[in-house]
């Protein structure tokens, strides 16, 4: 293979400059420069080799093969020329501007090479080399030296341990990844006019999206592997793609975010611009987190915080590569659905019913069609077909035009919000779908018209449908998930940033109570903080001696609850420190005595503040409201099913704190136990408004006191009937 010239005349395509790739994007002088990262006029390959079996050889070869029109400068003192390109002994020897230097030399030599790049005025370096902060023998000092060069100079650095990047518009393959190699016997397909951009904290995974997406007929804009992120972070690349005119849908693959504020700002900006973002966050399992930590030396944030970020900014979470691509494919080829009504059009009753199950399992509905629509469809299909939704047109109707007529009739009917065609597209030699008619439907589509083939589609079908702007899905669950994700994205509204301070009383009292060294607040202490916040807490008395019980009982009235108060017993019920439903004085005294005896047996040196005497709260729905400060994203508020249900069923919802009341109500609607609040099995509706206000208040508190408050846990909160408010029955606060 011979490379293009690197003589100093600009190729015509670049003479007028690279295509303008970003709109807006000026909040950071350093961030703005990523335009010349993705569409450089000149690239140097430091360590270039003629041996394509080596990474540094493969890198140069991929760059040349890809059709990149800019200049390519191999740098290696061992060669005069590589594959027809003049090879330079050093960066300084190039004596022309270099936008990007790809560095693929042994780790120990990288800092010196970076210094040389910076001195030569190189704008961006991409360190492909491994052997820094990752792996069994992590060299943190070496990684720190990389970061220092970036901080000291104006050169931005991607990596180390990165796999490079790809820009489809500039035909720029700046990576050795074999996933980008063209596939034999596969014609290039493009179904989507709106391109997909990828930021991945794993080169293997990032470029695999290209590899898999290409087979579906998906076009990409840019793909970047961020490596160890000694300098340039995933958030910066994300921000770039949010502003990139050529990117319509963004796919993020994350192990951990280093600059959470920038990340959240980019996510909000994407939502404001209406640019959908699909996020995969790995490290959900403990072993997964271990891998993320050991491999990219990146802290895997807690999953709850990522869920909160996604919910707060409209990011779409995906769980599997094919699912992520199916979602991206729907977003890149279809308008968002306006509702959850779906028509299935099938040639196989079995496959159609299976698709129906998959859609229904995700909350999508297959409405009965009007008699008018059914009759109109029936005219186009054999009598042994079915015009009822799911519509079974039979194989015969594909050939006789019934398929396209059914699609057109459903599209016009206003009775559904999406159409899912479930069909076999395996034929190698005959195209059964009328692609001209399909093109007309797709051009005019006001709703998703999705195609699922229950057989593997033939090359012919892939090509014909791609030409009509249609991706053929082959994953049943993935298609159903993608449609439901598109629906959720369509319904998402970016919440206003609530002004937390105005919701909280200006209170020196709160500050005073939270002061001092970090500790676990007992229930009675936590409740004092809540009271200072202006929240109603149930009447209760802290009793320090048995003698005080009677007076407390008289003041509060039976039935009562007793709870041991000790900073050493955050989980008091597990140590026998909670007794409920005490109906009389004798029971109260006995419970008090037994509780103290049990506690001393449990732990003789227990610090004891006393016993809290509480009136049993009236019945209601048991919920939990809480907040945690995430190490990455800061305060996150939580609401969910309370009491024993919390841990068992994990029916909880997260948001970044603070939230407004509309968001708090939305959090409650997401819960399975929302039905309890609405009035379940004859019970009256609960005071969800009071609960929402409590969530708002707790979220504001967690946000405003983020430096001192690490954890807040109100569990259970008993929500009473409409207008009757809720009782914070138990509470805990942990400070720093």
């Amino acid at each position: 293979m011979r490379c293009r010239t690197n003589a100093h005349e600009w190729p015509a395509a670049l003479a007028g400059g690279v295509p303008a790739m970003t709109e807006g994007g000026h909040d950071s002088a350093r961030g703005a420069s990523l335009e010349s990262f993705f569409a450089p006029k000149a690239i140097a390959v430091v360590g270039a080799s003629p041996d394509a079996g080596k990474i540094r050889g493969a890198l140069l070869q991929a760059l040349c093969k890809g059709g990149y029109a800019g200049r390519i400068y191999p740098v290696n003192p061992s060669y005069q020329e590589i594959d027809g390109l003049a090879c330079f002994p050093s960066l300084a020897a190039i004596s022309a501007p270099v936008d990007v230097a790809l560095i693929a030399i042994p780790a120990a030599s990288v800092p010196a090479a970076l210094e040389e790049c910076a001195a030569a005025g190189v704008r961006h370096a991409v360190i492909i080399s491994s052997g820094f902060a990752e792996g069994d023998a992590a060299d943190l000092a070496l990684e720190a030296r990389v970061a220092q060069v970036a901080r000291r100079t104006s050169m931005r650095i991607c990596g180390p341990n990165a796999e490079g990047f790809y820009n489809d518009l500039a035909h720029l393959t700046a990576t050795f990844s074999p996933a980008l190699e063209p596939r034999a016997a596969e014609e290039p397909l493009v179904a989507n006019a709106r391109r997909i951009g990828v930021v991945a904290q794993s080169g293997g995974v990032g470029f695999s999206f290209f590899n898999r997406g290409r087979a579906l007929g998906l076009a990409f804009s840019s793909i970047v592997s961020t490596g160890n992120e000694a300098d340039l972070t995933a958030s910066e690349f994300f921000e770039h793609l949010v502003r990139d005119r050529d990117t319509a849908v963004i796919l993020l693959f994350l192990e951990g975010v280093r600059d959470p504020e920038r990340f959240v700002a980019a996510a909000r900006e994407a939502a404001e611009r209406g640019k959908p973002v699909v996020m995969i966050k790995i490290g959900r399992s403990r072993a997964g987190a271990r891998a993320a930590a050991s491999h990219t030396a990146s802290m895997a944030g807690r999953q709850a915080a990522y869920d909160a970020v996604a919910r707060s900014t409209g990011l779409i979470a995906a769980g599997d590569p094919d699912e992520a691509l199916a979602i991206a494919a729907v977003l890149a080829t279809c308008p968002l659905p306006k509702g959850n009504r779906v028509a299935v059009v099938t040639v196989s009753g079995g496959a159609g019913a299976w698709m129906t199950d998959a859609l229904a399992a995700r909350g999508l509905e297959l409405p009965e069609l009007s008699q008018e629509t059914e009759r109109a469809i029936a005219a186009w299909i054999p009598s042994y077909g079915s015009s009822r939704n799911p519509v079974d047109i039979t194989a015969q109707a594909v050939h006789s035009g019934g398929l396209m007529r059914a699609i057109e009739l459903l599209h016009r009917s206003r009775e559904v919000d999406a159409i899912v065609v479930t069909i076999s597209l395996a034929r190698e030699k005959r195209m059964t779908v009328d692609t001209d008619a399909l093109r007309r439907v797709v051009d005019a589509q006001t709703m998703p018209v999705l195609f699922y083939s229950y057989t593997l589609p033939s090359a012919l079908a892939l090509k014909a449908l791609a030409a009509s702007g249609v991706v053929i899905h082959t994953g049943l669950n993935e298609l159903a998930t993608a449609l439901s994700a598109a629906l959720a994205r369509g319904r998402f509204r970016l919440p206003e940033r609530p002004r937390a301070a105005r919701k909280l009383p200006k209170s020196g009292e709160i500050r005073r109570q939270l002061a001092g060294p970090g500790r676990i607040f007992c229930e009675y202490e936590a409740k004092r903080v809540l009271a200072a916040l202006g929240l109603a807490v149930p009447p209760e008395r802290l009793v320090k001696k048995a003698g005080g019980l009677e007076r407390a009982a008289r003041a509060l009235g039976y039935p009562l609850a007793l709870k041991l108060q000790s900073p050493d017993l955050p989980h008091k019920s597990e140590a026998g420190g909670v007794r409920l439903g005490l109906g009389n004085s004798r029971g109260l005294r006995a419970a008090y005595r037994e509780m103290l005896e049990a506690a001393r047996r449990h732990r003789p040196e227990l610090r004891l503040h006393g016993v809290l005497v509480q009136r049993m709260a009236p019945r209601g729905v048991e919920m939990i409201v809480g907040a945690v400060r995430d190490e990455t994203f800061g305060p996150v508020v939580m609401a969910g099913a309370g009491g024993i249900m919390t841990e068992l069923f994990q029916d909880v919802s997260y948001r970044l704190a603070p939230v407004d009341e509309a968001t708090a109500r939305e959090m409650l609607r997401e819960l399975k136990c929302a039905r309890l609040l609405a009035g379940f099995r004859g019970a009256p509706a609960a005071d969800a408004q009071a609960l929402a206000r409590l969530i708002v208040r707790i979220s504001a508190f967690a946000a405003e006191y983020r430096t001192s408050v690490r954890e807040i846990d109100l569990n259970p909160v008993i929500v009473h009937g409409a207008g009757a408010g809720c009782s914070i029955v138990d509470a805990m606060i942990v400070t720093e």
Copy 2:
């Protein structure tokens, strides 16, 4: 294309008869005959045509093309010859034995053709034609005539509205399905020595398994589409494959089972023979059930019953085509895992961590490896790799032999029960895996060694790994699900059939109470039945007048509960008919008065048996125990989280009734709320043994009285501390 001869000399391959395909299998003379269905010596195509654009032409063409070595007789009075085969004017004109007649003529002519087949001694007919009990214009009478021929003669009939069948060993393509056509540019692959057989109540889906499985390198034995099942049922074909020596794994695609006893017997027989069965049951959603009913005129059984059958017989439920095939692939190529410890070996930290998440989400564990094993692996990988599980060998170690060494070391270590290799196999021209070494590992494998490629595998990789007996999985979630399904299958033990009668008291009393017309038993009536069954019910009194309250209260003791007893109010709590925790006489009287007033307002003509006064049960874990009689499979017993949790979280477990105590305990272990029974957050462990005995008793009752009892619902059952038994707090029985 020229067909083979149909001259009357048997081809050599068939001269000694077809290969013996079944072992055992003689409980039904009719059932046993399916051997000559799948491996016939002679086939007639009734309605054969030279036009391959028509179904009946395509059918003949497929038969000829496939390489079938038996005789093929086209039957059509319009032709003397088709494609080199003599064509017969009628079946009678063949005057030689015919094992299978494929019938593809208009529906109205089918009954006469069947009569002709039967008269000519044809053993099996397959009706491809549509236009019977399916579709908008179902012709039930025509379908009944088909069934009558089968009953009257000894000929067995598959269909109508079937898509035919395929037998790989006999090279027999008796279907027009385009899914079986060879794919251009795809070399045939075979990875599994153990073949997969398919029974599908949808031809489209059934043959799509072949189409998709083939691309993975999976070999099949037989695939059959059962159509409307006027005669031969899915259960009979299932039974055949259970006994078929050439079928090692069975895939079932079901809309509804017509002969449940035969189906369950076949499932049990498969379990006894250690032959794994993957079942897809569609019609989960209401719309899906509508489709199943309208399309194949088959009743879609309730999902719970299918779950019960699966749990009771070890069938593996699958939810998606790729998932079903991934499970079948693991079962057909690997030994079952003996435990849940998995090692992930990867070349991409990101992909490995993602796989780890997917495995962990399904209950599989990635243990830390011993220092010894880590050190041994570390010797084979670069320092920037990681020898900790998930093991990141890096791309370099694939080339240097580290991949196979890591697999071998893990295989030998006894520290894991399965190995999941997560790798990129996209290279078109270079095979990175040492397939000789792989073949040695696979030949000696004592645990699953699974390969997942995060890029789409190249033809080269597919071929090389298939030659080593390895399927390349491309679905992340599917692989994880398949491994976890294989683990569950390995742990499954077929329960003994408990002798229900011996567990129940012989009681005329029960029979007397259940006698009479079908009705809803009020709680107090239901409890009398339970008492007659020998079950302890809490002390309670039925009070018919306010004057009786005091006496009941004295006898029972406070706190009390009041419950309205009316056959018109099965959901009494929703009508204000339940009042709990009444602590004194005044409260009791007020509650009684209010309850009656509310009930009369709610429904003036309410039939009222009285008010049940009950002592409040002591605290404990709220569970539900119940049974329903499924229309298809008969009595099904259920246990799960009780009270409000039942409906909200649907944390329930089903089995076919009756069950033994070991099975009842297993049902409880499957529940998320199992942790509540084990003692949750400081609570003492509950009397799970008493609960298991209750489940056994209720299951025996539901089984023995299946003709009269339609539904039993004990909710909640409050389970007290170990040894303290459980209280059946509420109960309902519905009879026929």
